[in-house]
């Protein structure tokens, strides 16, 4: 190192860093370590498609048999909510009071520790359980966790094997796959569990005088096996089991249930005992679309079972999925018989990997474009220096991510692409200045470089700090959007700090080695540009009228840009839809529909889906839902079951391999599916995976009020009135169910008492007759699931109320009492569930959007309800605050509320960023006014941003807003360097006009270069449906702001100084 006596005294941090590292061996080491660490991190960091959002939530299910929804609400749900009310970190409590059952869903705040929250929840419920009314059963607490969502689903299907065998194979396969490292919850959907069905024949039972209770007692008493001690003899001990476990249907059939005419009556005499599936509660099929590339089965749709495997928290989806699939390959042909068709219907590992790889490719393209730009502007030597800094900075950032426990996901990579345009700036500025110094003859290469860095150190530090400050407030975005976007404010500052360090260390080091110090002739383009700029600037500075004209033009441009949203040429939306590889269609047939009905509707939808050229496979489910996904989890999909529920999950050709986006595919399918829904009076919703955090519904109105009946009426009025007639709303639904019927068997207590029959006996007999009774399990050694013994009556004997005449009860005297003599059947409307949110009764009216943004229908409906009453009630409306429960009120929720929240949060983040930037600028310039001039550049970005969105026909989204915030940092940097040079030239003794013109002229090249770097670097993002907004903001904003700031900032400074310096010269700022 060259020693100079005055070195340290006059150098700032940048200069000192450069002086130390410029000829140090350490620089090479740092370079290599950073590269290696980064590559390792790139390989090791878990990959996910989207950032993992932790939203602890749980369903608490409490049964209280026999209670009506109103009773359940009063006795179970309300006390439970009261217990949970005071809990810390609880975001919302949703209550649902059903017949005989209450379900309370607790949603914690985003980012709360999951285990901690659930333990507290469990503890709270258990320690307060004595407050629950008697007769309630033990609560089931079901945590809802992202890590429960299967990352891999494998569908096994067969046209030959029956449902029980297929499921058994599925369970067996799952058992093997579960051994793959990193898997957590796993389960099988579809097929039928093996059961021993005892179908009782009432006529035969009467003939032999046997009752269900008798049979049950005998079976129970037979199916027993007790370890009963041990024999010890001849130094050996052997254990003894007494009793006789039932092991097969045959064994059960030959149980003696009673005696008739001194002859034993076997169970098989009064009942048919079969080993099989029993009544069908749900069905699951797989169908093969036109784009299916595997070996096509000969049937269009095959009965199927789906194996679902989730991964452990913190593991890499890619490796877990690969582990599962390699195991699956080994099982084919052995555990999986050849007649079973195997399809991988979901592979999130691969999805994450290809998403990440695609973006890494984009990042690469961006780097290449920026490098090409640098070569054109700086020549290949300077370009090479800047180029080696790029991978170092990016890899260090990834390394920091790995150490901080972040995942590599799409947002991380967008953050990197975004920072690409910014991070080359520091190196460019440094190399440019070193270049300038080297051009002088006979300089010491080290000293000149140090001097060059030292010169621009302060403004570069400040500019980098400004960018960092623009991003940091984004960390405070609330709700699910916060952690979703968090990689941006986390990664960009890291990349910026690294770039600053690298610019002071690696760049001068490389410059010392490679940079040649002779100026080539100025390229023609830059000369023309510079000449043109100088001429225009001088003209503006000398003619007052022209200046005023320029000012007016700028104001008009700004006003015009601002008018675009007002004229709805640019529309707002939280996030646009994403191009996905799959989507779901959820089906709900009218109340009272059978499983077969639902299956028929689902199959009709399957027929439509199959015709689409981009569909590979689709799975149909009726009587339940298919494999759950993240947005389904938060929509409460896990609670859906019953014959009226169905779902179609559609897989498409991978998005990299198809020309058309999933949004367009859905749009094309929508009319045909809507027609099916209409024809069958079914509720069909197409659920596309949201690009960001999921919501319960895109448009959602929560109606609160004092009387639930009235709420239901208002809900229905909104559903069939306002919502149905608002444009672009599809799949309008409400939480008010359709009317359905229920039969109550009213026991005449007096008559029952006279006959010696208790109502409990009636209820028990009826349950056996209608629903069937499970009693114990058979002991089959190889069965992997328990095999229950189930008593029931043939379905043909229990079709309607008239069949109840066939039931007889036996009283203690042995007399047979027909049910019809002591009970009457009453038909009445089924009680309806009661919904609650945060302790208040609520009716939800929901809708999806066919296209466009939910903001505008929302505004239209708000306006309508402001002037019109619904069901004679004037609804009070609110967005953010809780409406009072004393009046009928509506709170708008769903995507629209999220949009408002996000724009509010981002808006305030923007505000904070501006204040922070202003503060550091005041500190830097020691002036209150100059920072204002510097920051004029920020509003000027809008001149580009809003027309840019209009030009590209894009929504102004949350990512566009992030772009605007990023722009604040970027453009301030340009104006900062401009002002800095003007001050510099003034200090050097130039006249003010000359200083202003010269500064602009000298800074023209680097400003245009960095602007191009940002624009070209982010250009790859423009095709992305989600982050396109960010790219548009950055590209157009930078363009407009760069062009305008080059004139506005010098002119603004000129105007300001002419104004303040008119009386006296002096007081130089800085």
């Amino acid at each position: 190192m060259t020693e100079r006596p005055d070195a340290n005294a006059r150098l700032n941090i940048a200069g000192r860093l450069t002086r130390y590292f410029i000829d140090s061996k350490l620089t090479v080491l740092i370079l290599l370590t950073a590269l290696l660490a980064g590559l390792l991190a790139l390989h090791l960091t878990p990959r996910t498609e989207n950032p993992q959002i932790v939203v602890p939530a749980a369903n608490i299910i409490i049964a209280k048999p026999g209670a009506t929804p109103r009773e359940v609400k009063n006795l179970v749900v309300d006390p439970l909510q009261a217990i949970l009310h005071g809990m810390r970190g609880v975001h919302h409590i949703y209550g649902m009071a059903l017949d005989s059952e209450g379900i309370v869903t607790v949603r914690f705040d985003v980012g709360q520790n999951r285990i901690n929250s659930l333990v507290r929840l469990y503890n709270k419920i258990m320690s307060n359980y004595n407050r629950m009314p008697p007769g309630t059963l033990r609560p089931i607490i079901q945590p809802l966790d992202v890590n429960q969502v299967p990352i891999v689903t494998i569908t096994l299907s067969s046209s030959q094997l029956n449902q029980v065998t297929l499921r058994a194979i599925g369970i067996d396969v799952l058992h093997h796959l579960r051994r793959a490292p990193g898997t957590s919850r796993s389960y099988v959907i579809g097929g039928q569990r093996r059961r021993i069905n005892i179908t009782l024949h009432p006529a035969l039972m009467r003939r032999y005088n046997v009752t269900l209770v008798d049979i049950q007692r005998v079976v129970e008493a037979t199916n027993i096996d007790i370890p009963s001690g041990e024999f010890i003899n001849a130094n050996h001990e052997a254990t003894i089991h007494a009793g006789g476990m039932l092991r097969s249907a045959r064994e059960i059939g030959s149980i003696v249930v009673s005696l008739y005419n001194h002859e034993p009556v076997y169970l098989r005499d009064v009942a048919t005992v079969t080993d099989g599936g029993g009544s069908i509660r749900n069905v699951h099929f797989i169908g093969f679309g036109r784009a299916y590339s595997g070996l096509r089965p000969r049937n269009l749709e095959l009965p199927a079972v789906t194996l679902c495997l989730a991964k452990k928290a913190g593991t890499n989806a890619v490796t877990v999925a690969n582990g599962i699939l390699s195991r699956l390959k080994m099982l084919e042909g052995t555990v999986i018989p050849p007649s079973v068709h195997v399809d991988v219907t979901r592979n999130d590992g691969q999805r994450a990997d290809s998403a990440v790889n695609l973006l890494i490719r984009h990042l690469f393209i961006a780097i290449v474009t920026v490098v090409a730009l640098l070569i054109i502007f700086l020549g290949w030597r300077a370009a090479a220096i800047v180029t080696i800094t790029i991978p170092v900075i990016l890899l260090v950032t990834l390394g920091v991510d790995y150490v901080a426990g972040q995942t590599i996901n799409r947002i991380t990579l967008f953050a990197l692409i975004l920072s690409l345009g910014l991070l080359v700036d520091d190196s460019i500025v440094v190399v440019e200045n070193i270049f300038r110094h080297y051009a002088e003859r006979g300089v010491d290469r080290i000293q000149a470089a140090v001097r060059a860095v030292n010169e621009i150190g302060r403004p570069t530090n400040l500019a980098t700090l400004a960018v960092i400050l623009a991003f940091l407030p984004m960390l405070s975005v609330t709700g699910m959007m916060g952690p979703y976007m968090a990689p941006i404010p986390k990664n960009v500052p890291v990349a910026m700090l690294t770039s600053l360090f690298v610019a002071y260390t690696v760049a001068p080091w490389a410059a010392r080695l490679w940079l040649k110090g002779h100026h080539g002739p100025e390229s023609l383009a830059t000369r023309i540009l510079r000449r043109g700029y100088e001429r225009a600037m001088r003209a503006l500075l000398s003619r007052r009228l022209l200046r005023w004209g320029f000012l007016v033009t700028i104001i008009l441009l700004l006003a015009g840009a601002m008018a675009l949203p007002a004229w709805r040429i640019v529309n707002f939306k939280m996030l646009p839809r994403n191009n996905n590889n799959s989507f779901d269609i959820s089906v709900r047939t009218p109340a009272g529909s059978t499983l077969e009905d639902t299956d028929r509707v689902v199959e009709e939808i399957g027929d439509v889906v199959r015709q689409n050229p981009y569909v590979t496979t689709y799975q149909l489910a009726a009587g339940g839902v298919g494999a759950i996904n993240f947005s389904g989890l938060l929509r409460g999909q896990t609670l859906k079951a019953g014959p009226t529920v169905g779902e179609v999950q559609v897989e498409l050709v991978r998005k990299s391999e198809r020309a058309i986006s999933s949004i367009d595919i859905v749009r094309a399918l929508r009319p045909a599916i809507a027609e099916i829904a209409h024809r069958n009076d079914a509720m069909v919703k197409i659920e596309q995976h949201p690009p960001g955090p999921p919501v319960r519904a895109t448009v959602m109105a929560e109606v609160f009020g004092p009387h639930y009946r009235k709420l239901e009426q208002i809900g229905n009025a909104l559903r069939y009135g306002l919502f149905a007639h608002t444009r672009h709303l599809v799949g309008v639904d409400s939480s008010v169910p359709h009317r359905s019927w229920q039969y109550t068997i009213a026991v005449n207590r007096r008559q029952a008492a006279l006959d010696g029959v208790t109502p409990a006996q009636v209820a028990q007999t009826l349950k056996g007759f209608l629903a069937g009774i499970n009693d114990g399990t058979v002991h089959i050694a190889h069965a992997k699931e328990p095999v229950p013994i189930r008593f029931r009556f043939p379905i043909a004997d229990r079709m309607g109320p008239q069949d109840l005449n066939k039931i007889f009860l036996t009283n203690p005297e042995g007399r047979e009492i027909p049910l019809s003599t002591i009970a009457t059947v009453v038909r009445h409307p089924a009680p309806r569930p009661i919904f609650q949110k945060d302790g208040r009764e609520v009716v939800y009216v929901t809708a999806g959007m066919s296209e466009g943004s939910p903001v505008y229908p929302g505004i239209a409906m708000w306006q309508y309800l402001k002037h019109h009453a619904v069901e004679g009630v004037q609804l009070r409306q609110s967005f953010l605050q809780d409406p009072s429960s004393l009046h009928y009120a509506i709170r708008w929720s769903g995507d629209m509320r999220l949009t408002l929240n996000v724009f509010r949060d981002l808006g305030s983040a923007f505000g904070v960023a501006i204040i922070l930037i202003y503060m550091i600028l005041v500190g830097y310039y020691r002036s209150f006014m100059i920072p204002f001039i510097v920051m004029i550049a920020i509003p000027l970005t809008l001149v580009g941003v809003l027309p840019g969105h209009a030009l590209m026909h894009q929504f102004f989204t949350a990512t566009s807003m992030i772009g605007v915030i990023a722009l604040a940092g970027v453009v301030v940097r340009n104006s900062l360097l401009l002002i800095d040079f003007i001050l510099e030239y003034e200090r050097a003794g130039h006249s003010r006009i000359e200083a202003v013109v010269q500064a602009g002229s000298v800074r023209l090249r680097p400003i245009i270069l960095t602007a191009f770097a940002i624009m070209l670097g982010t250009a790859v993002m423009i095709v992305d449906p989600v982050f396109g907004g960010l790219a548009i903001s950055l590209i157009f904003g930078t363009l407009a702001s760069t062009v305008l700031t080059l004139f506005v900032i010098p002119l603004g400074y000129f105007a300001y100084t002419s104004f303040t310096h008119r009386p006296a010269k002096g007081a130089q700022p800085g």
Binding site: R654, S656, E657, R658
Partner: protein
């Protein structure tokens, strides 16, 4: 000559697109058209409670699921899940799954697949 050019062009296109070429969709399996009689349900017998009664020999078990083959709009045999009630004299009462506007494909079913095109030889059940 033109053929060579076309070949060359397609080869270039293939090379250009090979980085992201989707796996080719597999061809549809052979589902030969079958000659079968169909039974229109619009005029068949109903029980007192309005349930449809169908011949028991039209009921099949598709991998353990009870159902019938319904003739689709496209003239194909499609599996339809049903719930069977009482059976008597070769006739079965269907509790759920049929609406009465369908046509059932009649046996034999050995060669019938879910999706087999059906050439109607005869339509029964229409007056």
């Amino acid at each position: 000559m033109i053929r060579y050019r076309a070949l060359l062009l397609s080869a270039i296109l293939l090379l250009g697109g090979c980085t992201s070429q989707p796996p080719a969709a597999s061809p549809q399996p052979a589902r030969p058209t079958l000659d079968r009689a169909v039974l229109s349900l619009s005029a068949t017998r109903r029980t007192a409670s309005g349930n449809i009664v169908i011949p028991t020999n039209t009921i099949i078990s598709y991998a353990g699921l009870p159902g019938v083959f319904v003739l689709s709009h496209h003239g194909r045999a499609r599996f339809r899940l049903i719930k069977i009630g009482k059976a008597l004299d070769g006739q079965s009462e269907i509790l759920s799954g049929l609406r009465g506007d369908e046509s059932l494909v009649l046996p034999p079913f050995q060669a019938v697949l879910d999706g087999s095109p059906i050439h109607i030889t005869r339509t029964e059940g229409t007056p």
